[in-house]
Symmetry: C2
Subunit: 217 residues, 2 copies
């Protein structure tokens, strides 16, 4: 399977959802699935699924359905799950703690190697996979260990300056929970902003319409 | 502007993003914007934006661009932002606390009226907009105050049974942070699952590709 150039943003953003569904099928021991059955269970059309998969060379023989194991591995390859990129987390407040304790970074392709906070009462503690260090050590640590991605769970106000400094020290992607726009376009660095509000607004729409089909089950 | 039937899931899921962008334009005092300029800043095509808006009757005159104020209000109407539906939150752990303290429910069209937890050390406290009550009072409270939506931030394992009981007491939508599938399809209740992992996997893809355009800025 080739990682083709110029795959559209919309297609890429559907890949994790495919991966979630197909991983579930694999965990349930399902050996094969047709594009039609996959489409039905995901609220898409079979032709959209085939088109999406064709962007990456396709994953199966027409008429025979997809081999779930191979499809799952193919999607994992696209997403680089096995690369286990090094990541750090900055800001061990409520959302930072929730991620450290409950979020499975490995399952998404990341190895969370360290977390940082300014609060001396949490420095030195272990939360989930990571030891918490003093934020004063942040840039030395980044220079030495060269994580690829930083998770920003700092309070409002400091994210933009922090993001620029992290990028200056070689960070190549930011997972931003701060709710603040970072405006790093000029630096060419991917930023994935987590907008809880989008999800809640869609729920509101679906409740008003009495229509579960808009929501993401 | 009409709320048409049979608007596709994909269109509906883009509306909050439009609303975020256009709200930002309004806050910046921008009076008008063309579909082309809106498309460029959002990584979409002008024709897709026009098609999406036409699903709701359109919002502007061809050639003159959109009146930002009217467009913003039109999008807010579609999303029911002014309805301020009553919501409750169940589970005041790290993620629950983060939402109560930092998330602006009103801006997404919800009035968070109460939160619940089993832990006596947090019962009676105020976090953000909501007072925290004992979870033993949950169903009496729901019967009496009839919230439309419940936010599920409970630990792994109890979400499915809790969700069914809440729906039995009249809850019409669930915002699910538990990472557990709820399988409420048969009940016809919208469930919006928050999948942090999708966002992180897209970031991983974009970092590997050295391409910021897949991410959501």
């Amino acid at each position: 399977m080739d990682k083709k150039q110029n795959v559209s943003r919309a297609v890429i953003r559907r890949i994790p959802r495919y991966y979630r569904y197909v991983s579930m099928l694999r965990a349930n021991g399902v050996p094969r699935i047709s594009s039609r059955a996959l489409a039905e269970s995901m609220g898409l059309t079979a032709s959209q699924i085939r088109q999406d998969f064709n962007c990456f060379g396709g994953f199966g023989q027409q008429g025979y359905g997809y081999n779930v194991e191979k499809l799952c591995e193919g999607l994992a390859d696209i997403l680089g799950i096995h690369r286990q990129r090094k990541a750090i987390l900055v800001g061990v407040g409520n959302i930072g703690k929730a991620l450290l304790k409950n979020f499975d970074f490995k399952a998404s392709g990341f190895d969370l190697i360290c977390a940082f906070d300014a609060d001396k009462t949490v420095v030195g503690m272990d939360f989930g996979p990571a030891n918490i260090r003093d934020v004063a050590e942040l840039y030395d640590y980044v220079d030495q260990h060269q994580p690829e991605v930083a998770v920003l769970t700092v309070p409002h106000g400091i994210a933009p300056a922090l993001a620029r400094d992290l990028v200056g020290h070689g960070i190549r992607g930011l997972w931003n929970f701060t709710g603040e726009d970072l405006h790093l376009e000029g630096l060419g660095i991917p930023v994935e902003n987590v907008h809880f509000s989008d999800s809640l607004m869609i729920l509101g729409y679906a409740v008003d319409a009495g229509d579960p089909s808009a929501t993401d089950e």
